[in-house]
Symmetry: C2
Subunit: 351 residues, 2 copies
């Protein structure tokens, strides 16, 4: 089969790779019908995270079950399934707590499973899925979604689940004011997540017209282009002299984290899902003095998918709008370039 | 009247001071019927926080309204009232959000109000209370509580409200496991707060038999005396191989904060109310990797008192048990010594 392999900075190639087979009784093999490039795929691509040896890449995909292991009973060949961005067992204490990203049997797409067997990446034609029943979520009653639905289902792998995580960590609920820092796919999904959780007033911080348009479509009432203290002042002005109840940090840099933290009102909440990169050291005393709570981290997508899936299927939410480009798998290198150069928000890959 | 004045490290004196009068229409004067010494009073006493000039001290008291300003309608002479540890207006955005400790018209007992007028300390015979209607909470239907009730009412000024704040910040709810770090009055009240919020399994970290007994009386199922990695291992063992859902940090030192943070399970919550003293900066990456949320700070006691008061009055909770000594106001210096030398958990002062 064809699959994307990352060899090093700015070097991703679509290459031949053995078609996966069921190796363990709890495996299934999924034929990928849509995958995509994640903002976090750009870290090794940009050399921010080292690539020690070439490996398959891609952690967001949906597809059709092709073959199943002997222990698999809740999935069948032909099922349309969503893969969260991590493999999880569903049965360890962390999974039972809903924190599937801390699963004791965790595996990464493009890495190896707990038995040392290779796991395919999502940016390829097919994937062996370990711990398949606990990892995959079946899409009920549908196998051939139209393009829009396919895109929205695919966001549940990561970005929509991550936006939802940020909103929950920021304690978004009806009546609360919200600021979203970051206008990438996750930030935009954060706007949508805040809207569906009942926020009546969402401010998106964005300087790009195309992203601003999506943010407004997802429910943002206002756009703030200013940054730093000017951005904070603008938020305060828009909210009638106070800062935001809930702030979603969806970038992870020093600047974005400071922007986010200083946009929270006393006693408000910061949800952060941007992987901290050079983030400032915040004294505990600052959190103490402001009564601001913080939470976040990697989203337990597997836990959230069932709740979000229903609203995707009935059309209540359409997070797939974050995809502004579609390319065939063979053009994955161009997808990386387009996202790296910010020519695209997020690129969907078709087989 | 007689009132306690702090002059410098280990120098608190009970001195003569003018009896307070109503200065502003929103003032009342309260005749103090019980006050006490707080752990935080020991910071200036120990020289940890400088005393730039002698000033009245004490921020926890209950008493009877003696005289009222012309604008006061909801309080009357003879009412028994509880004073939270800060003056707040009840009407600014922060107060309306329930974060009364960030009030835009905040004043400290023993300091000055927003008009520059002196405010008495709680460790004295009487106090001028600015913004009285929004600051004080009336105890309905009772003016002469017995000793036990008096003590419990007094804890609502600070320590019980602060324990409650820690428990809320740590997201304590029915079914969650709880660890409380710190066995001072706040930590003990944290145990009680966690119990009333429905926790079924509370572990108190304490090395003092008298405090352990109160913790058990307040609902702690287990006591852990170990510290550091041994303490964490003990928690894990007691909880069947996992760490705690909710951890209350009620000390504020580097060691206690680390003890607390490392006792939280992935995806769990840390509530911290110990004023950070020498604590390292917030480890964003650790919080990201563990999905642990943190929150805390000064408790908005004014916001919490009404809810807690009902349970104190009907005997559901008896937080006054944290007082293990009672002294007359004239012996306030001995009360400080007793707490400084850990001969007492918390000393109640009577007029």
């Amino acid at each position: 089969m064809r699959a994307t392999i990352i060899h090093g900075p700015r070097d991703v190639r679509v290459e031949d790779r053995d078609y996966p087979t069921v190796r363990l009784p709890s495996d299934v093999v999924v034929k990928v019908t849509a995958s995509c490039v994640c903002g976090s795929d750009l870290w090794p691509y940009r050399g921010v995270r080292p690539v020690h040896q070439p490996h398959p890449i891609g952690h967001e995909f949906i597809g059709l079950v092709e073959s199943i292991g002997s222990a698999v009973t809740t999935l069948a060949a032909g099922d349309l399934v969503i893969a969260p961005f991590l493999v999880s067992c569903g049965n360890c204490p962390q999974c039972r707590n809903g924190v599937t990203v801390a699963c004791e049997h965790l595996a990464h797409w493009g890495g190896t499973d707990e038995n040392g067997l290779p796991v395919d990446g999502g940016q390829g034609e097919a994937v062996r899925v370990p711990l398949a029943e606990s990892t995959l979520v079946k899409v009920p009653g549908i196998t051939e979604p139209d393009d829009a639905l396919r895109a929205s289902l695919l966001t549940l792998s990561d970005v929509m689940a991550t936006g939802h995580h940020a909103a929950l960590a920021a304690k978004v609920s009806a009546g609360r004011t919200v600021v979203v820092v970051g206008d990438g796919a996750v930030g935009l999904c954060g706007v949508l997540a805040a809207k569906r959780l009942g926020s009546e007033r969402i401010i998106a911080m964005s300087r790009h017209a195309d992203r601003q348009a999506i943010a407004r479509g997802f429910g943002a009432a206002d756009i703030v282009e200013e940054r730093g203290t000017e951005g904070v002042a603008k938020v305060r002005e828009l909210l009638g002299g106070v800062l935001a109840d809930s702030v979603l940090e969806c970038v992870g840099t020093k600047e974005s984290m400071e922007q986010a933290l200083h946009s929270v009102r006393p006693g408000g909440a910061l949800g952060f899902v941007g992987v901290p990169t050079g983030t400032p050291d915040v004294p505990w005393r600052y959190l103490f003095d402001t009564n601001i709570s913080v939470g976040g981290g990697m989203a337990p997508a597997r836990t959230y998918i069932p709740e979000l899936l229903g609203e995707v299927l009935d059309g209540t939410i359409n997070p797939g709008r974050v995809f502004d480009a579609v390319l065939p798998l063979e053009e994955t290198p161009e997808a990386y370039r387009a996202m790296d150069e910010r020519r695209a928000i997020k690129v969907l890959l078709t087989p």
